[in-house]
Amino acid sequence: MTEEQKNKQMEQREVKASADKLSENKRRRLIKGAVAIPVIMTLQSGAALARTSNLVGSLEEDIPDDSTHVATQDLGNGKRIVCAHPDDSEDQSGAPPYDLGNAPMGHLEPNFDSNGNALSLNDQANNCRGGGGLVISATAFSSFDGRMAGL
């Protein structure tokens, strides 16, 4: 190893040591900063967390007939959109997400019109929205775990 290479290697070591020192100082500042003011945080209770799970977003996009994203149920006569009802007694000013209240309600949209013509999932979704209902995701629906009344 030449003298020049040795010098370079030594310089690199010094830079690394300096960087390590800086990093350590930053960590110390962070730790000191954390204790420099009193901190209190209150953990949410399980009941409160469960309550917020009745907040849902609505699907506003077009729903293709092969969608697996939207909440549907098939009672033996074809897929029907789950139409959830926002709870009017809850404050919905922050919607979305919408609050379905303590006892989530919903209905299954008809998949035939009054003339007996089949309705696509998208038609059903539009009917649901037109009646003030919410088209929700399959994931959101499954979070209610059978607790949605009216279905």
């Binding site: 204790v35 420099a36 003011i37 009193p38 209190i40 945080m41 209150t42 953990l43």
Partner: protein, 99 residues
């Protein structure tokens, strides 16, 4: 000017656990669990000993944690005192009850 006096409420009922220099405090009266850093807990300990004025709390904390007392620190500490008060962990003491 010494600021309001504060004291702890039902401190003995609190269930306190240390987690690597920080603390979880279960408050049976409300069923809530709080997370406090060392300074937060020191405030509760201080107020459990005796009713203490805000100025005395500032001095106690800056002394314990070797900090400089400035306006920002005082404001942050007062905010925390009010938060403790909202949660029912401490309460203001009427001046006449100190005499």
């Amino acid at each position: 000017m010494t600021g309001a006096y504060w004291r702890s409420v039902s401190f003995s009922s609190l269930q306190i656990e240390e987690w690597g220099g920080e603390f979880t405090v279960f408050q049976p009266n409300s069923g809530k669990t709080h997370f406090l850093n060392q300074m937060g807990l020191h405030i509760l300990l201080c107020l459990d000993r005796a009713p203490t004025s805000e100025d005395e709390i500032f001095v106690f904390l800056t002394d314990q944690f070797q900090l400089t007392l400035d306006q920002n620190f005082s404001q942050q500490t007062i905010k925390t005192l009010h938060r403790f008060d909202e949660l029912g962990l401490i309460e203001k003491v009427r001046p006449e009850s100190l005499t």
